[in-house]
């Protein structure tokens, strides 16, 4: 990260010169009838937590959300741009946009400007044509659909947990529990993830959001 200010290290500590990053753990799971998405709530500048209650689940359209990880500024700017483009497209079409369209718009931007951006995004939502879908657009700008996807710095710690505990055909409640537990495990081990767990369920009926506070997180024997 380029330090653009003078190096008065005593007076201006590290976190005034570092870019803001959503360290992060983000996750999305498809189920029959919709998707469950989840994220932690920590935004850091260096070692300082700039925002401990961040909402990384950003609405792009009525039933399409994105989970943001990487540079806070980059992901906010991209999400704002895609929200505008998708809204315009939806009005032109006069129908609800496809999740795949939203994911494609993210991919277009993330791939075209891949040298300048640092953004790892998971796009998830529900549309009438294909139901619940999860698309992942990691740092280089690739786009692929997955039934389950994790992202962010904390995701490294839960690949094993996710791979062993995911089953196809889980119910909405099972997906919520699965996501909450995975995020909790990641938050316990990753310094850049923490705070509260934000969850959302997107389905034909709409969006239900919930927050799990620190003391209400699931308990594991070692953490």
């Amino acid at each position: 990260i380029v330090s653009t200010f003078n190096n008065y290290n005593d007076l201006y500590p590290d976190w005034t010169q570092r870019e803001v990053s959503t360290g992060t753990t983000i996750m999305a799971v498809e189920f029959e009838g919709g998707v469950v998405i989840g994220a932690d709530s920590r935004t850091t500048t260096g070692a300082y937590i700039a925002n401990r209650v961040t909402d990384k689940l950003t609405p792009i359209h009525e039933r399409i959300f994105c989970c943001r990880s990487g540079s806070a500024a980059d992901t906010q700017a991209i999400a704002d741009a895609v929200t505008y483009q998708l809204g315009f497209h939806s009005i032109e079409l006069d129908e609800a946009p496809l999740v795949q369209t939203a994911a494609s718009l993210f991919r277009e931007m993330c791939y075209r400007y891949r040298e300048e951006l640092m953004a790892g995004i998971i796009v998830a939502g529900w549309d009438p044509r294909r139901g619940g879908q999860v698309y992942t657009v990691p740092v280089g700008g690739m786009m692929t659909r997955q039934p389950v996807s994790v992202g962010g710095s904390g995701s490294s710690y839960i690949y094993g947990y996710v791979d062993s505990n995911y089953r196809a055909g889980m119910s909405k409640e099972e997906c919520l529990k699965f996501t909450a537990e995975a995020l909790t495990l990641a938050m316990e081990r990753d310094g850049s993830s923490g705070g509260v767990v934000r969850l959302a369920v997107i389905s034909e009926q709409g969006v239900e959001r919930q927050v799990i506070l620190g003391n209400q997180l699931p308990k594991f024997s070692t953490v």
Partner: protein
């Protein structure tokens, strides 16, 4: 899959090549022992709080140029629109000009819509401009105001990310101020309590951070009214020099007037001495 970057002609947008060149030149100059002029920075403690009827913004008043205080009483709470104000930390010129540009654009926008501007609009304009300059405009802002949607508070970082929160702090003294907020913030405070909280948070920054100092400015924004309290609290009064107490300039006179030190008891012991011998020795002054 390996990532291969091909050197290609920069397509569109700003070119920040000269910024990299300048950083290298600066490093070279420092190696030779010279130093380039330091930008004036507002080291700063700035903060804001949402309370029952609106928002309270606070700031210290010290501007530094390297390790020297350039301005002991600068104004860091900038006007954006009649209902929106913005505190600025970072490079003083950047915060000043950025807030002025957005204030101007927001006034034109407000004339176009025929409505009082919204805080979210100012936030969008600021973040989009700062993102465009990829962090090279060193402005870290606390934006607050009251509009038709209610009171709102945003923190805006130099790279263009923003957070909408009930209480925020920015600047080199932000950790000290945040400690005060995390201890004493409650939702829906009364105005006096909110002003006290912001005042104490800025004071924490002033007394514990070298980059912040002097006085505390407050700005209380409610629906229909703005109280710009400058200064709200002169936390660092300049002392009175002892050599001018009676109006007579006397350098080096460190006498204090009778009564400065309280006398508890007084005991006088006379020393009765006899003169035994008296002799004069001349000093050789040739």
């Amino acid at each position: 899959m390996a990532t291969v970057s091909v050197c290609q002609y920069h397509r569109g947008g700003f070119s920040f090549e000269n910024c990299k060149r300048n950083a290298l030149l600066e490093a070279d100059i420092n190696k030779l022992g010279f130093s380039s002029p330091a930008a004036r920075k507002t080291g700063t403690t700035i903060c804001g709080v949402v309370y029952k009827d609106g928002v309270v913004l606070g700031a210290d008043t010290r501007a530094t140029e390297g390790m020297v205080v350039a301005d002991k009483n600068c104004s860091k709470i900038h006007y954006i629109s009649p209902n929106v104000y913005c505190c600025g930390a970072g490079t003083a010129a950047d915060t000043e000009m950025t807030t002025q540009i957005i204030s101007s654009n927001l006034e034109l926008h407000s004339l176009s819509t025929g409505r009082l501007p919204r805080v979210a609009t100012a936030n969008r304009m600021l973040k989009q401009m700062l993102f465009r300059y990829q962090g090279y405009i060193g402005a870290a802002l606390v934006l607050g105001g009251v509009d038709s949607t209610g009171p709102q508070l945003y923190s805006i970082y130099p790279h263009g990310s923003t957070d909408k929160l009930p209480y925020v702090t920015m600047g080199s003294g932000s950790l000290a101020a945040m400690a005060v907020f995390e201890d004493r913030y409650r939702p829906n405070m009364e105005e006096e309590e909110a002003k006290r909280l912001v005042r104490d948070a800025i004071a924490a920054g002033i007394f514990n951070d070298l980059g912040s100092g002097s006085n505390i400015d407050l700005c209380v924004i409610t629906k229909g009214k703005v109280d710009y309290l400058r200064p709200h609290d002169v936390a660092n009064k300049k002392g009175v020099r002892e050599d001018k107490i009676n109006g007579r300039p006397e350098t080096g006179n460190y006498r204090y007037k009778h009564g400065t030190t309280g006398v508890l008891t007084k005991a006088v012991t006379h020393l009765n001495l006899e003169v035994v011998e008296e002799s004069v020795q001349t000093m050789d002054t040739t």
